[in-house]
Amino acid sequence: MRAASVCVAAALLACPSMGTAKPAKEKKMAYTSLDLKQGLFRCDIPAGWGQARDEREEARTKVQGVHLIGPKEKGPLAPTLSLRYFASGNTVAQTADAYLKRQLEPGLVPLKGEKTSEPKKASAAGLAGFSFVRDTFEFIPPRSMDTKRIPVREEYVILERKEGFFVLLFKAPSASFKRWRPAFQRALDTFQPL
């Protein structure tokens, strides 16, 4: 019995990719409802994605919400979904316009290859706002003489409300952006301010 299990193990070692879990196809993706009283919204999110919040930091920054991380595919990066409410008086940007302006600025030195689309009008749950897409890069491993530039795409939807604003951000490696994008669409379609 032992010899047999060693044999199987050796075979698996020789082909490590057999062990990696395949990401669920969108059509099979399951969703669960997220009800975030502190972030003042409700929406559907992919079931099984990791969730992270930091309530003490939220109290300091007045930016409330949740950060979701999906499964990794062939590489070190996973798709992420960030759903945040920027309350009035937050430490990041006073208004939705200021937030949008800062994001759209090319930076004092534009990052070569980074492309930010023109903002388009957007809306969700009766709230008006803007959306834009940015194609940029992650650097892996960081601060190394042989860093690899991995293309990633970010899609922002910024929604204004009477006080404060929401920022819904979906980010994924460019190679798998389309595969996971429906998860973002579902969050947008089901988004409800509380």
């Binding site: 991380i69 800062r102 534009p110 190394s144």
Partner: protein, 627 residues
């Protein structure tokens, strides 16, 4: 960064030396220094603040209360006077709780969180994975239990090949669940290291071969340490370059009738190593009269691209003169200039492994990795001779290396500041967050004021991923300072302790040293005079320290050969150091706060007031030491 060895200097030699000099005039019994009398129970009960802290921090490790306690210096002073032992216990528990909170909230990616946890060798919370999970559930409901379980190498989160490897080693789920995190981590690290070693023997020639390697790389990635990831990244970049260039050269030589070039291509395709493949490919491009920058940068260096001592020394002098000229007019640059009015500026170029650069506190040099300079030369088709004689070539390098040298200068200033404050130089994550923030702020400010620098950033991105990364970082700082800091912790320095983690680990190490030395002294008291004499009169005079190991047994054994008087000195040193840690923590905390305020303020100014509500408007960062 600081070189690694500074990590292993928790006790300032001056302090240990002073303690060793003192030990002969003091004598302690087996229990060490006499403790002050405990407060009467009634008095203690009458101090509701203390009772609250003892419950919330001492028992529950509540991070919010721990932070409140760490900033409540008035209460700390009171407790330190009335009950130093209790104060130390509470302080240690508070730093552990606050540190673990920072760690768990900084990492949404389990593979990065794991790197942070792996350095927490003295953590009580981490000693039992179940205990940490329960603590997180109670104190940090925002932390995803599944992500934490994955970071802790939960069996269900292991890949098939990892499980297979462990099965082969005799482990199953039952055994695994009973094991501690460090034991699990070591085994999976061995697995990942095996895969990495295998990959670094391969010399792929086709896209399919490279893609197969790439799959294995990313599977092993989460199990590897930071230095391993860098080394593997370097190897894979070379392999990728070789494969892409073979394909390109094959197309170019299809119609060629040059037998020499065709033979070189055959040699490249049959070479047994990536370096040899790249050397052949480089020769082919030369033969074609073409430049392939990727091949030029990644192939082994030619003789005229190598440094000798004379060239190193000449380049160091050129850098030291040049560096000052480029700093003026920026926040970090002006601080560095003020610092170098009273402190020596020395820049060295030498091979230091995988880091780009570091500050060497032993020689007080900012050290730039020679490999980095070689890559610059190879990318631009220049030689060491060109670098030393052609101002344009040197200026290009000096400009490109400027933010990196500035970063190391911040470390030099931190070092001098610690000496001036009479606190040990603690190399912790917050020091790196400060240095990275100042570097990125410097890039933003310099790009605004110096068109030549901005041009270098614009144009250099085409040939250097490092320049692209620096630009991306400065843009990230500009867009969201808090997000930038979280990214630096999680992506750049996950394996370094936070300030609180450093305090906690040093406290725990000092306790371990004191406890084991006391036990060894007690054992010697029980020996016969003849057995004891060689230890009292001979033995090693060294004072070994306990450096974050997971198992104290080897350290305990090392004490058996130490001279008895040296052991007593070590005991005093350990007790003195452990007791002094809160006093070392506070100035570091103030420096961190001041650094954050300064960067926040400058970024707000650069944005022109479009930022959020400020938590700032405080005095600037204290300057570095004057000697």
């Amino acid at each position: 960064m600081f070189p690694d060895y500074t990590i292993s200097m928790p006790v300032p030699p001056i302090l240990l030396g002073a303690c060793l000099a003192l030990f002969s005039s003091l004598s302690y019994g087996e229990d060490g220094p006499k403790k002050p009398p405990e407060k009467p129970a009634a008095e203690e009960a009458a101090d509701p603040q203390l009772a609250g802290y003892e419950r919330d921090i001492g028992t529950d490790f509540n991070p919010a209360v721990a932070e409140e306690f760490l900033r409540d210096t008035a209460f700390q002073e009171r407790l330190k006077k009335s009950d130093p032992a209790k104060y130390q216990r509470l302080f240690k528990a508070a730093t552990e709780a606050k540190d673990m909170e920072t760690v768990l909230k900084a990492y949404d990616d389990p593979s990065k969180l794991r790197l942070a946890l792996a350095s927490h060798t003295r953590s009580q919370l981490l000693s039992d994975p179940a205990k940490l999970k329960e603590w997180a559930r109670q104190n940090m409901p925002g932390v995803d239990p599944a992500a934490l379980e994955e970071a802790l190498w939960g069996w269900g989160h292991l890949s098939f090949s990892q499980q297979a490897y462990l099965s082969m080693k005799g482990f199953d789920q039952d055994k695994w669940e009973k094991m501690g995190f460090f034991e699990r981590d070591k085994l999976v690290l061995d697995w990942g290291t095996g895969l990495m070693d295998g990959l670094m023997q391969k010399a792929p020639k086709t896209k399919a071969q490279f893609e197969e390697m790439d799959k294995i790389r990313w599977e092993a990635w989460g199990a590897l340490r930071v230095d391993q990831r860098r080394a593997l990244g370097e190897y894979m970049k070379k392999a990728d370059t070789a494969v892409q260039s073979i394909a390109e050269v094959e197309k170019k030589l299809k119609a060629s009738k040059d037998p020499k070039l065709k033979a070189m291509l055959a040699s490249a395709k049959s070479a047994g190593s990536v370096d040899a493949t790249l050397t052949h490919l480089s020769g082919i491009y030369d033969g074609l009269g073409m430049t392939n920058t990727a091949v030029a940068v990644n192939r082994p260096a030619h003789a005229d691209e190598q440094f000798n001592e004379g060239a190193r020394s000449a380049l160091s002098s050129m850098f030291a003169t040049d560096f000052r000229k480029r700093l003026e007019g920026t926040t970090a640059g002006d601080a560095a200039l003020a610092f170098y009015e009273k402190n020596p500026l020395q820049i060295a170029v030498r091979d230091i492994g995988t880091p780009l650069a570091h500050y060497d506190p032993g020689t007080k040099e900012l050290v730039l990795n020679e490999k980095y300079v070689r890559k610059y030369l190879q990318a631009s088709g220049k030689t060491v001779g060109d670098l030393l004689t052609d101002k344009k070539v040197f200026d290009g390098l000096a400009m490109e290396a400027l933010p990196t040298l500035l970063h190391e200068s911040v470390h030099q200033q931190q070092h001098a500041w610690a000496l001036q404050q009479k606190v040990p130089v603690w190399f912790h994550q917050d020091m790196e967050v400060e240095a990275m923030s100042m570097e990125s702020l410097f890039i933003l400010e310099k790009a605004r004021s110096d068109p030549a620098f901005k041009k270098m950033l614009d144009e250099g991105q085409a040939r250097s991923t490092l320049i692209s990364e620096s630009v991306a970082l400065s843009n990230s700082l500009y867009r969201d300072v808090d997000a930038f800091r979280s990214m630096i912790r999680a992506d750049y320095y996950p394996a370094l302790h936070t300030l609180e983690g450093r305090s906690y680990h040093d406290s725990a190490n000092a306790e371990t040293v004191a406890g084991l030395v006391k036990a060894e002294l007690a054992r010697r008291d029980g020996l016969s005079a003849s057995a004891r004499r060689p230890l009292d009169e001979g033995g090693s005079m060294e004072s070994p320290w306990f450096y974050n190991q997971t198992d104290p047994e080897a350290y305990r054994k090392s004490l058996e050969g130490i001279n008895t008087a040296a052991l007593r000195g070590l005991l005093i040193g350990a007790q003195g150091y452990g007791g002094a840690i809160p006093g070392y923590y506070q100035p570091n905390l103030q420096r961190r706060d001041a650094s954050e305020r300064l960067v926040d303020k400058r970024i707000q100014e650069i944005r022109g007031g479009t930022g959020g509500a400020s938590r700032l408007r405080e005095p600037p960062l204290p300057p570095g030491g004057g000697g």
